[in-house]
Assembly symmetry: C2
């Protein structure tokens, strides 16, 4: 099936940029400008107003409303009027318009400075104010009842419309953490508080960190540098223990549904409430991550009602999505799985019976957007192309599928509350951004926005997206090539490969700039050939493509990147003595792996926040891909860059954030230490107050440094 | 007086190196070779055999003996024979000959693998073996009784010839440390155990660290990086509290002579026993370090007998030397002080009466070597020249002074046990090393060694030592200039200033290589002009020269270094667009200070282990020179390089050891953080397992990095 899919991709497509102009990008353009004056035009915070045929967006201090019927936009409210409403109820003024969210047709809400506000736009009045403690985090709103659950330090609280607060947990031991996301946000987990559909219960994670090792971080800003330990469970070591509590707002009692005992260290993933609040569903995954059981529990007596079904895989299973219950058939739910090789939706009943596979084919569902009252499921997928995202709806009963979006590219679709319209925002390499209002039947109502090309005055290099074969010949890989500006085929150019290479990431898409950072274009303006290859192991290409990395992170990925090097050679205009490589995080691991595994190929590398030895990485991600060091000693040994440091040739700059809680500092420092032991020259830089990703103005400093390093040595 | 002294130095002296040859140094030559095959020949572990007219040295596995009478050396013992002696007493064999020390005419001793051995060379037998615990440290031997005091963790023990052990202290609290050096080895303190002259008492420091802040160091070699706190009292913060215990070996009881209470935080320096064991003398210094009181205590009732005298100075007083009791007049002792502007010896009686000033003049005593039975005091000083060290003896009664050493240069003098001979080892810029045996009257007995120039086959650059005026015109400064090898006056050369600049250090001496590291010569072979200037603030030039830095570290020092820049300009052959600067520790502070205070002057700098803000430095050294941050806020502010980071121009590489317990890592990381905030490019490197000084093979890696940085950017 995969082979049929790939034949679709053999065509080679060239998108050429705007006509060459004289202006080149600066580092400020690349890091700041692209998010401001150089960004494609947009309708900010675009959303439907409840179930009405109206939708709103924000610009400066105004909220504008548009309608499916009227062409002109009208100002709905501005900061002055909002402040009048707030002041009328003795609430303090705001400096600027906050981002609002519609909770119902006439009510929107926002958080500001620890307060939650609900405004009735019809009555132009403040409907509710809830004051939260200053150090409240993880706010979870149940709008219909205007109640907010949240955490303060390690405990869970809920505060209502009446500003009465209930403390749900009271753990004095800081190693017990309630209401926060668990398992380091793997398995689709991004939150720790789960309101039941009618708001009678709050389910929440309870994490016991007491067995997890401390990783020491140091705050150099203190008068005398201060220790700040974080809990960091390393692969193969003791991990956190998760349980799920359910708080009953009527009885004000908490029961624990699933306790995670010391031995099994299970993952409780994708917590889903049944619509009638009588059941809760947990995708329970073993620590080895190769066996998921879909459990249904009764709230009343916290009993396991049934294991609905199971999934196993020799490598790993990776539950990523909550259940979505249908409307017309509320006893049915959608479940997503890659069990046939690609991420598709399946319809099950609440007894665990498979009703049907909803979608299939050599492509993947990316996002389920909505389900309407006729059980039409709205979603986006890669069906047109692995590097595009299109919207569809499919009817559960008839399996009739309708494509919602037309132009080739990446679409972001927002379905209206009444399902009669949708908003379609898209871009491709030619189109910075277009936003269209569409009828439910897929016909255009009208175009709302068509951004000009804000980069048109710059000397834009030519970008090509194409295919090469993977190193094992099994599949095609996408690459993105940016030629030097003012390209002269008679010249020889240096080249830089920008790499990530790890799972859950795809660098090349048919979107504005081809998914590349503007930095790549700046470097091409300076005369570098910029290449990126999405190797096997990257996302949106199906299970087999991605899980080839299992127990051997980096191995297949590097082989595919070396096909990229062959591509550079085949171009004829690349000086193969001047090839560089650069990446961050997994891409830092790849950069360092490539330079030590293929010494002599790369003249210069810049590796940021690199994993150096997977045994220094955390349990959840690390063990999924590498198993434990005990189970896979040869895999850990052969992928460790500590032992490969002695092979390094060429100039390598390693960069790391000193307080990186994701790839801990120990990684890069271990590599440096080994280089020193082996008299291997290597360069280093540290961002003392930076976590895993360098952001904001610090990032300008970073990109200046990386640019200089290539300019100086490549 | 200072002015007269300086007129002596106005002459300008040039020492030219060996004839130019073809070979250039490698980094290995510079770091390893110079301590092995390129080192000047030597007589290793040269020492007198007790009071006999014989002396010994070691070579390979042999100990050789020479005599004042016989010209030929004879093998005294080799490793085979030593092992026969050891084995005969069931002691294990040694792999190689240990360094031996003569405890008496016929007995030498050595430590090996936790054991202390005494060998009778006449009887060829093992006289004593004392087994020490594996983790014993700070061993202090009382040879006559063959007893060893030592510490295990934070407690003090003594073990005798009979292998019976007495535990002297039993502090369970690890913040209480007994028997170790205190005050971070400032004030001439290098030990924590003080045997009384007849071995009836052991005085020892007791340090209470409980109020001292923890500085967090991280060991990245652990499975999960591990915290290793050190106690690091920062300037102006709570410091350690010191008291002095005296253990009576007869009664086996400890009394505390001087308790250091919480408020005063006194320094107890230069612990000296009276010859009759009835008194102990402590030079007690206040925390502000501007008032020393010379206290005499009675052992019997631990009472303060008398404050013998006091010293005060507006800037600081700096007790550095123990009392030395005379032989003919055992009620008199030598005391060293810079009270007249230079370090000289004074004779006091034990009631505190000043008998006489023993030496005076615009020069400094460097080391008091011995006192004979006629109260002749043997010492070395800078009397001939501030950049030379010569031996003298002076009679206390007559003040008759005799110079013991002849050739211009730096002499190391070893007086014989019977005072009838001395050994004189010396070098200067022309002479790698010569060792002579001398009669007490200063006449030559014979030359023992005259090292060949092991560098003769290399392409040696020309070295010049000369004078320039200090920036304030008050004094002359010494400089050392190394011209590029194969110098061509019609060319323009880049230059590197190597700087230390801080107190207690002098970089330029009339010794082999002029005191320069061989690296300087290697760089000169590569075509760099290498300059070093001993600015005001450096040592061996007297009090006023050195204490100009008080409350303003770096200010005068930099002004003088800029005179070095003027010198470079005056040479005519330096490309002033290509001037670099490099230093470590105080020199790293100076390098970073120079680049941020005089932006644009230096194109490239390399700063190692730099102090960046004196408030991050420790109490003892920091407050001596800078007072506390509370007392001198403007001085701390104006010398802080955090606020100057934004001024940096040119390429600066900062290097630091991650576990530096002297200049803690917070220093350089704070500077980097400030550069990032200000978008200032800067380079960095870290040695993850290195303390303050990079040593051994790691140092080859370091010097390769520093060399490359100058080669790449200067």
């Amino acid at each position: 099936m995969r082979i049929r899919f790939l034949t679709l991709l053999l065509s080679f497509c060239v998108f050429s940029g705007a006509f060459a102009q004289s202006e080149n990008f600066t580092i400020r353009d690349v890091e700041i400008g692209i998010r401001r004056e150089l960004a494609a035009s947009n309708l900010i915070n675009l959303q439907w107003r409840g179930k009405t045929p109206n939708f709103t967006y924000q610009e400066n201090s105004n909220v504008y409303q548009l309608s499916v019927n009227k062409k002109d936009s009208a100002k709905l409210i501005d900061i002055s009027e909002l402040n009048r409403i707030l002041n009328a109820d003795n609430a303090p003024s705001l400096q600027s318009m906050p981002y609002i969210t519609w909770g119902s047709d006439n009510e929107f809400y926002f958080y500001n400075a620890g307060n939650f506000y609900v405004i009735d736009i019809a009555g132009k009045k403040l409907v509710a104010t809830i004051k939260l403690p200053e150090n409240a985090s993880n706010m979870a709103l149940f709008f219909a009842k205007k109640q907010i659950a949240y955490t303060v330090e390690n405990n869970l609280f809920v505060t209502g419309f009446d500003n009465k607060t209930i403390q749900i947990t009271s753990d004095a031991n800081k190693d017990i953490v309630n209401g926060e996301s668990v398992s380091r946000n793997e398995f689709g987990i991004n939150e720790g508080i789960f309101w039941s559909p009618q708001g009678n219960y709050i389910a929440f994670y309870r994490k016991d960190n007491s067995k997890v090792g401390n990783y020491p971080l140091v705050d150099i800003r203190a008068r005398e540098a201060a220790l700040e330990n974080i809990k960091y469970p390393m692969a193969g070591m003791a991990s956190e223990h998760i349980s799920l509590g359910v708080f009953d707002l009527n009885t004000q009692k908490t029961v624990f549904i699933e306790k995670n005992d010391t031995i099994s260290e299970k993952y409780l993933t994708n917590i889903s409430w049944g619509p009638d609040e009588r059941n809760i569903y947990i995708q329970v995954l073993n620590r080895a991550q190769n066996h998921m059981i879909m459990n249904k529990y009764a709230i009343q007596d916290r009993s396991l009602v049934k294991t609905l079904f199971e999934e196993k895989n020799e490598k790993y299973v990776e539950p990523q999505s909550k259940l979505i219950f249908l409307k017309k058939n509320p006893g049915w739910f959608l479940y997503q799985s890659r069990r046939d090789g690609f991420n598709h939706a399946y319809v099950y009943d609440t007894e665990g019976k498979l009703i049907k596979q909803l979608t299939s084919g050599p492509w993947e569902i990316l996002n389920v957007l909505a389900v309407d009252n006729n059980d039409n499921v709205y979603y986006t997928s890669t069906e047109e192309s692995p590097i595009e995202e299109n919207g569809y709806k499919i009817n559960v009963a008839t399996l009739k599928k309708t494509r919602l979006t037309g132009d080739a590219g990446v679409h972001n679709v927002i379905i209206s509350g009444d399902f009669k319209h949708y908003l379609d925002a898209f871009s491709n390499t030619q189109v910075p951004r277009t936003i269209k209002l569409m009828f439910e039947n897929g016909k255009l109502n009208r175009e709302l926005l068509n951004s000009p090309n804000k980069l048109a005055t710059f000397n834009m290099p030519e970008i090509t997206i194409g295919n090469i074969k993977s190193a094992d010949g099994s599949t095609d890989l996408y690459y993105r090539l940016i030629k030097p500006a003012d390209f002269d085929p008679s010249k020889k150019y240096p080249a830089i490969i920008y790499v990530y290479g790890g799972p859950h990431t795809q660098l090349i898409q048919n979107r504005w700039l081809g998914g590349a950072r503007l930095w790549d274009y700046m470097m091409a303006q300076k005369g570098y050939v910029m290449l990126t290859v999405d190797n096997r192991g990257s996302s949106n290409r199906g299970l087999a493509f991605e899980n080839v990395i299992h127990r051997q992170c980096g191995v297949s990925e590097m082989q595919d990147q070396m096909e990229g090097v062959k591509l550079l050679k085949s171009l004829g205009y690349v000086d193969m003595q001047r090839v560089g490589v650069h990446g961050w995080s997994y891409g830092g691991f790849m950069t360092t792996s490539l330079m030590t595994t293929y010494p002599g190929v790369f003249k210069v590398g810049v590796a940021g926040g690199p994993v150096i030895d997977w045994k220094y990485y955390e349990v959840m991600y690390g063990e999924r891909y590498m198993d434990t060091p005990q189970e896979n000693p040869e895999g850990y040994a052969s992928t460790s860059l500590v032992s490969k440091a002695k092979n390094l040739k060429g100039k390598l700059l390693i960069i790391h954030g000193a307080i990186d809680p994701t790839v801990v500092w120990q990684n890069s420092l271990s590599f440096i230490n080994e280089c020193i032991k082996n008299q291997v020259p290597v360069d280093y830089f540290v961002y003392p107050r930076t976590e895993h990703n360098v952001q904001g103005l610090d990032r300008m400093h970073l990109m200046t440094k990386i640019t200089s390093y290539f300019d100086d040595y490549l």
